[in-house]
């Protein structure tokens, strides 16, 4: 829990990034707005909304961006998804008073946007005949933008290849399964949270995750074999 100093306590109508920020900050600001002149009501409402969005952004933007980056593989697309997700927060804050619902909601929007983007890439490739499909396994399949940072660390080249394989294997998977795998293994979400995000049951999430791992394992091994050839 963040602490407010004396100045902040008297001046801030801003929410802390803690769990209760949405409802708590809004109520606090509303009380202040009520007590003051009505002419400042619109400005205060705007300030209140911006404070909420800023706080929600500060708490979740990095995770949402990382999720999109891991799926889409480049900064610009991840920026776009992050921006779109938090723009949508604006119209839904009243419905997201329960902080426990906020995170799954953000991930759900991000998932839909990422899947749109991945499908669009696939469709574009078909139209221009550059690659066949996401599961095609051809080198051309890897032409999509990807900027995963490849380590050239002290353990050097093996690490570079490893991370490259992971990214490429993910891109070869169906978006439906890739999202599930990233949500669990990279973002650290539970079966129950994944189920809520994907609008399926926890059991179905477990099954989908197991299949996603099988697919990932096959693609990962296939890439290894291709490189050895």
């Amino acid at each position: 829990m963040l602490r407010l100093d004396a100045h902040a306590a008297s001046a801030l109508a801003l929410p802390s990034p803690g769990g209760q920020l949405v409802s708590g900050a809004r109520d606090q600001t509303r009380e202040r707005a009520t007590a003051e002149a009505p002419v400042t009501g619109a400005a205060r409402a705007e300030a209140e909304t911006e404070a909420l969005i800023t706080a929600v952004y500060g708490q979740h933007a990095s995770a949402i961006h990382s999720y999109a980056f891991r799926l889409l593989g480049n900064q610009e697309d991840a920026d776009d998804v992050t921006q779109e997700v938090f723009i949508r927060v604006h119209g839904r804050l009243d419905q997201l008073r329960d902080p426990s619902r906020l995170r799954p909601w953000l991930y759900r929007i991000a998932t839909n946007l990422c899947m749109d983007q991945l499908r669009r890439r696939s469709r574009t490739r078909r139209i221009f005949g550059v690659a066949i499909s996401l599961d095609g396994g051809s080198d051309a399949d890897d032409t999509g933008p990807h900027e995963f940072a490849h380590p050239i660390s002290s353990q050097a080249i093996d690490g570079v290849a490893e991370r490259d394989h992971i990214a490429r294997a993910l891109r070869r998977m169906s978006p439906k399964y890739a999202t599930c795998l990233v949500l669990h293994s990279a973002q650290g979400l539970s079966y129950r949270e994944i189920a809520e995000i994907l609008n399926i049951t926890p059991g179905a999430a477990a099954v989908r995750l197991a299949r996603a791992r099988d697919m990932f394992g096959r693609q990962y091994e296939a890439l290894r074999e291709e490189e050895l050839r």
């Binding site: 963040l2 602490r3 407010l4 100093d5 100045h7 902040a8 001046a11 801030l12 109508a13 801003l14 802390s16 990034p17 400005a43 705007e46 909304t49 911006e50 404070a51 969005i53 800023t54 706080a55 952004y57 933007a61 990095s62 961006h65 990382s66 980056f69 900064q75 991840a78 920026d79 776009d80 998804v81 921006q83 938090f86 723009i87 119209g91 946007l113 749109d116 983007q117 669009r120 995963f148 940072a149 490849h150 380590p151 050239i152 660390s153 002290s154 353990q155 080249i157 490259d164 992971i166 990233v182 669990h184 293994s185 990279a186 079966y191 995750l209 791992r213 990932f216 394992g217 990962y220």
Partner: protein, 534 residues
């Protein structure tokens, strides 16, 4: 419940959930008991765990700095009815502008923050009278306001309710407010160009020095979100040593002393504010003091528990009068690049290693020099084969054990790579400062200063691809941007040898010619120098 062990066909559906710790008792115990005695199922559990670990190594990232501004701008333009946009599909142009960096557009667009100066001259006699009238009103207002605020002698009185805005809007609001009070001051106040995300202008006021009533200072206050607090700036015509509102802490808080360029910041406290932590600097003709609410006020000001607050102080203070613009950058393309770095055993001195590495072709060249700069030996590494040449004796030897056995910096360590991988996160946090085009190569390199580094550290970014293309550390400079206790990212003076002087990433075709050329012609097999250590 049966004591019979669970057979494979019953355990199989639960192996993934067991690996993920998602099974509840008693099922978890039954499946775990089966796995303990079944090599096949144990292997399957390990497979799930290894895939989870593999995918978990994918790097984290951070949004570019302009994303929050765009979100807030969209929120503002949408009004209370909200924004309706169901999908990215069909969007004709991206929401985040992807033009050249802001400072590269400076020649064609007005800067966001302008220097504080006199207002433009009106064009008519009637208009000429307006500033005088406005000034009279402002002075009257200031006197009235001051008579109220000075009684309480509050540092940073709030005259305006906090209103979270984009950084540019907050800076503009601040500038307008301070400009309106400029007439009461005997100096030109300087403003920050960096404030943390979510900062909001809270107020600006004029005060009078308690000792010399003819001297006026200006107080500016912002609210900030992380840490939830306020940031205050007081600029006074008095030198720091003569100010009664700031007591120097001397060497008590070395973590709160830093410099970037000509101004040296030192730590202190505000005696009238319950010894609130602050920093101050003389700027020639006036002095500035910045303070922020610490996360743990009971701990020393430079405690690591106050790291976020300290960082706000550092970045805001370094940005005073500086040209800071948001910028986003990408990690270097480590697969396709040839890496060149120079490391030294002692920061900026001692034995040195010049390393060229071409990961795509699995080859590395290392030239090792002694304290005087003379080449001691040259290693050529291809896969696991290392050939060491002694240019002085014209002898060479093949070393067993490969590059990993050399014990030398033949590749960048993981923490340096992690720094490059997360370059955009550092930019977003304001720890990397854009300094504009590199004067030595303005078309191809933009300079970024790592403001929290113990030595002046510069990163270079290609303005077109936005990728990091190099880094340099100036060990010879007296300036200490992050202060003496700063955490090092590219300089590890205590670990040997890992003091990186320069790091460059070349596109494969642009690496210096001949760096990987290798021949033993004219050399004979013989003794070679042993590995140089620290």
């Amino acid at each position: 419940m049966s004591d019979m062990p669970m057979p494979c066909r019953e355990a199989t559906p639960y192996l993934a959930a067991l690996a993920d710790d998602e099974l509840a008792e008693p099922l978890r115990g039954q499946v775990a008991a089966h796995v303990a005695g079944c090599a096949v199922c144990a292997a399957e559990v390990r497979r799930h765990e290894s895939i989870r670990a593999l995918v978990g190594t994918l790097p984290r990232s951070a949004p570019s700095p302009e994303v929050l501004d765009q979100v807030l701008a969209a929120s503002r333009s949408a009004g209370p009815s909200g924004i309706v946009r169901e999908s990215l599909r069909g969007r004709q142009k991206r929401l985040v502008p992807r033009a050249l960096p802001g400072f590269l557009q400076a020649a064609t667009a007005p800067p966001v923050v302008r220097p504080i100066g006199p207002p433009r001259r009106p064009r008519s006699a009637a208009l000429r009278a307006l500033p005088a009238l406005a000034a009279a009103l402002l002075i009257t207002f200031s006197v009235v306001a001051f008579s109220r605020f000075s009684a309480s002698n509050r540092f940073g009185s709030h005259s305006v309710a906090p209103t979270p805005q984009s950084l540019a809007a907050v800076l503009q609001t601040t500038q307008r407010a301070v400009e309106s009070k400029r007439g009461a001051l005997s100096f030109s106040p300087v403003l920050p160009t960096y404030l943390p995300a979510g900062a909001a202008f809270a107020g600006a006021s004029i005060g009078t020095d308690p000792v010399d009533a003819s001297r006026h200072y200006v107080d500016i206050t912002w609210t900030i979100v992380l840490p939830a607090s306020t940031l205050h700036l007081r600029e006074s015509p008095l030198p720091l040593s003569a100010r009664s509102d700031f007591l120097s802490a001397g060497p008590a808080n070395p973590g709160l002393t830093w410099s970037l360029g000509q101004y040296q910041w030192s730590s202190g406290v505000l005696p009238s504010q319950n010894q609130r932590c602050a920093i101050g600097a003389d700027r020639g003709g006036y002095s500035v003091v910045l303070d922020v609410g610490m996360q743990s006020p009971g701990l020393p000001c430079d405690s690591s528990d106050n790291a976020k607050a300290i960082n706000v102080l550092r970045l805001a203070s370094l940005s005073l009068g500086a040209q800071y613009q948001p910028f986003s950058a990408l990690p270097p393309d480590l697969i396709a690049s040839v890496l060149h770095f120079r490391a030294s055993a002692v920061p900026g001195a001692g034995a040195s290693w010049d390393v060229y590495a071409d990961p795509a072709r699995h080859r590395t060249s290392v030239t090792v020099r002694d304290d005087h700069g003379a080449v001691v030996y040259v290693d050529h590494i291809s896969g696991s084969d290392v050939t060491r040449l002694d240019p002085a004796a014209h002898t060479y030897a093949t070393l067993a054990g490969g590059a990993g056995a050399l014990g030398e910096p033949v590749a960048l360590p993981g923490d340096v790579i992690a720094f490059f991988n997360n370059v955009n996160a550092f930019l977003s946090a304001g720890e990397l400062w854009t300094l504009g085009p590199d004067t030595a190569d303005p078309a191809h390199r933009v300079r970024l200063a790592l403001v929290g580094a113990p030595y002046p550290t510069t990163l270079y970014v290609d303005p077109v691809s936005r990728r990091v293309v190099g880094a340099a550390v100036d060990y010879g400079a007296s300036s200490r941007p992050g202060g003496p206790n700063a955490a090092s990212r590219l300089t590890q003076a205590t670990a040997c040898p890992s003091a990186f002087v320069t790091i460059d990433f070349f596109a494969a075709g642009k690496a210096p010619a001949g760096v990987f050329d290798f021949s033993t012609a004219g050399y004979t097999v013989g003794q070679v120098p042993r590995t140089i250590g620290c």
